[in-house]
């Protein structure tokens, strides 16, 4: 059983501060949906509104088509996984998992059985009688998920649950979470500030900034076709050029910058000033100038990052630009101090406005 969630024109104010501004999103049943944004962008507020700990100031929230305004957290078909997991330290694991059943008056034998089944599901058999303090970070994670699943929620809400883990474990748990979601078919709403997490796990991602949802799309679209500068720079690295749009036609435009004339895709500026964004891995370094979109630069530093090599360069006007070369031996890495040309494909660069926030 899983339910979809609809937010219609949802706003949330704390005093004079507007934490969430006019959020509209429709999350499908069984979907893995992530809200991605920096801390303070309002993503946790959205989660707490869906779970029922805070009420929206305006707008409607529907879970499975039903308006849930005024319903308390324990009356909603949602289960929340807290950032610090909030496992009950004084109860053994199986009581933790079956707590939601205990308060519903389910008898002990049934609860115990259910707890053990769920431990099986999250790949932690035999831990039923352990205490919370006996588990590693990753194991606690699984217990938290099992506890949330025990009440058979239609929607799981996860508030940065991986943030306390080591890098390696975090990557392992991403796959694990995704697998559990697929196995159970429950709708997952996932909150994170880690773009890698959001892109790797989600069916769709909603990028947020200062209370507003900037873009909702699948991970590939978010990365390759960001709608504005905020999305482009929050999700991945960019070289940014300031300038002026000229000759716009058929989705392409030429862009005049101090570095010269560039050609790139034209985003939806809606009358606002645009900047040109191009990702470091979409640039090419050559000894001679390319036919178009080419900037002469001096290599200032080379940093070896493992799977790729970052070339840091300075243009004649003093701008810092970066190019990333794959470490597969196909590209020649220039020497430090050498003069080269950096160029990019017009289809891979975009002219975008800044973030969509209220003036």
């Amino acid at each position: 059983m899983s339910a979809g969630i609809d937010l219609e024109n949802v706003c949330c104010d704390f005093g004079t501060f507007r934490a969430v501004d006019n959020a509209n999103v429709s999350i499908r049943p069984g979907e893995f949906f992530s809200f991605l944004g920096p801390s303070g962008c309002g993503k946790t507020t959205i989660l707490r509104m869906v779970s029922g700990f805070i009420e929206p100031t305006q707008g409607v929230i529907r879970i499975g088509g039903e308006d849930v305004r005024g319903k308390r957290p324990n009356q909603r078909p949602t289960a929340l996984i807290f950032q610090n997991l909030a496992l009950f330290p004084l109860m053994p694991i199986w009581e933790n998992i079956s707590f939601g059943l205990e308060v519903r008056g389910v008898d002990k034998a049934t609860r115990r059985k259910k707890a053990e089944d769920l431990l099986q599901l999250v790949d932690l058999p035999g831990a039923a009688d352990k205490m919370v303090s006996q588990l590693s970070g990753g194991q606690k994670q699984r217990v938290a998920i099992a506890r949330a699943l025990a009440v058979e929620p239609q929607v799981m809400l996860l508030d940065e649950p991986l943030s306390a883990l080591d890098l390696k474990l975090r990557q392992h748990m991403r796959a694990e979470l995704r697998a559990i979601q697929q196995r159970t078919g429950v709708t997952f709403i996932y909150i994170t500030h880690d773009q890698g997490e959001a892109l790797a796990m989600s069916d769709r991602v909603g990028v947020m900034s200062q209370g507003s949802i900037q873009q909702i799309a699948d991970p590939r679209e978010i990365y390759n076709n960001p709608v504005n500068g905020f999305v482009a720079s929050f999700v991945g690295e960019n070289n940014v050029f300031q300038g002026e749009v000229q000759h716009a036609a058929a989705g392409m435009a030429s862009f005049t910058t101090p570095h010269g004339q560039f050609r790139a895709r034209l985003g939806d500026l809606s009358g606002k000033i645009g900047k040109l964004y191009v990702r470091p891995e979409h640039t090419i370094i050559t000894a001679t100038p390319a036919a178009e979109n080419s900037v002469p630069v001096t290599v200032s530093d080379i940093s070896f990052e493992g799977s790729f090599i970052a070339v840091h360069a300075t243009s004649d006007t003093g701008a810092h630009l970066t190019s990333e070369l794959r470490n597969d031996g196909s590209a020649t890495v220039p020497e430090k101090g050498v003069r080269v040309h950096m160029s990019f494909d017009p289809a891979r660069a975009a002219i975008l406005p800044d973030a969509n926030v209220r003036g």
């Binding site: 324990n74 004084l90 308060v103 194991q139």
Partner: protein
């Protein structure tokens, strides 16, 4: 030089312990001295007669029973009130919190004499005004209980509040989210976390009540508690039965202290073993 100062410090510690514990040893010793006056010098020979005499002292036994029920009542009331006050103070903020908290802790600083007299006057005047003979409004140990609770509750409150500081209120939200009612959250999540502090509070309240003299002295009417009885004995003619009593109380205290220490060490060992297991699991996961 450093070594010398360190030894000096150890010596000072030792002297301080002697200063603290020697009076208790002297007092206990006098319980076994075959002398009409409670003292260890001159030593007139070993006897246990003061213990048997103590058992025969009916007033003392009655005072002992009174002390126990007063202390139990104080512990119960102070724990209930103090815990409620701590939870309340912990989840309000701003001016109201400052005022409430300030009033609560200032009760610890009010002299016992003042508490005793004010409690006594209020309840007896109230009885007079209503023209009732109901026991609540007459002097007696029940007024001692009320007077003692007025400041002992603050001690319990401080202990529980300290424990609340280490409580993650996210656990309450998690329980609510899993469908628990407010009463279930209180019973299954919050109170279990507070039990160590509540137990400590009950113990402190119990001992504070036994030890209380000032409040009891002014409110007790004609009844005795152990403290009041010992006091009157010390002022009038005294026999070493008091020492016999003191010796027994010290023994009880020592046994309780040792039990507490053993329990503390056992818990520390268990917790350390659990953390070690968690660390091993962590390392295993990273391989």
């Amino acid at each position: 030089m450093h070594k010398f100062r360190q030894n000096l410090a150890h010596l000072y510690m030792l002297l301080f312990l002697v200063f603290l514990l020697a009076p208790l040893v002297v007092m206990s010793g006098a319980a076994f001295n075959d002398s009409k006056l409670p003292s260890v010098v001159p030593w007139r020979g070993f006897t246990t007669m003061w213990f048997s005499e103590m058992i025969r002292d009916e007033r003392m036994m009655l005072a002992f029973a009174n002390t126990l029920w007063v202390a139990a009542a104080v512990a119960l009331l102070a724990v209930v009130v103090g815990t409620a006050a701590a939870i309340m103070v912990n989840s309000i903020s701003g001016r109201l919190r400052t005022i409430l908290y300030g009033m609560m802790i200032s009760t610890i600083l009010i002299p016992g004499v003042v508490i005793g007299i004010s409690t006594m006057i209020l309840w007896t005047k109230m009885g007079n005004a209503m023209g009732t003979e109901f026991f609540l409004f007459n002097p007696g140990l029940h007024l001692s209980v009320l007077g003692q609770v007025s400041y002992i509750a603050a001690m319990v409150m401080l202990l529980v509040l300290a424990r609340l500081q280490s409580f993650d209120s996210g656990l309450e939200e998690a329980a609510l989210d899993l469908g628990a009612s407010h009463a279930q959250v209180m019973r299954r999540i919050l109170l279990p976390h507070l039990y160590p502090a509540i137990a400590a509070g009950a113990a402190v309240a119990f001992f504070q009540s036994i030890e209380n003299f000032n409040v009891t002295q002014f409110t007790r009417g004609g009844s005795d508690t152990l403290t009041v009885y010992v006091f009157s004995k010390v002022r009038s003619g005294i026999t070493p039965t008091i020492n016999a009593l003191a010796f027994l109380l010290i023994c009880v205290t020592l046994v309780l202290a040792v039990l507490y220490e053993i329990n503390r060490r056992r818990r520390a060992r268990i917790e350390a073993a659990r953390e070690a297991e968690a660390r091993r699991a962590e390392e295993a996961a990273l391989l």
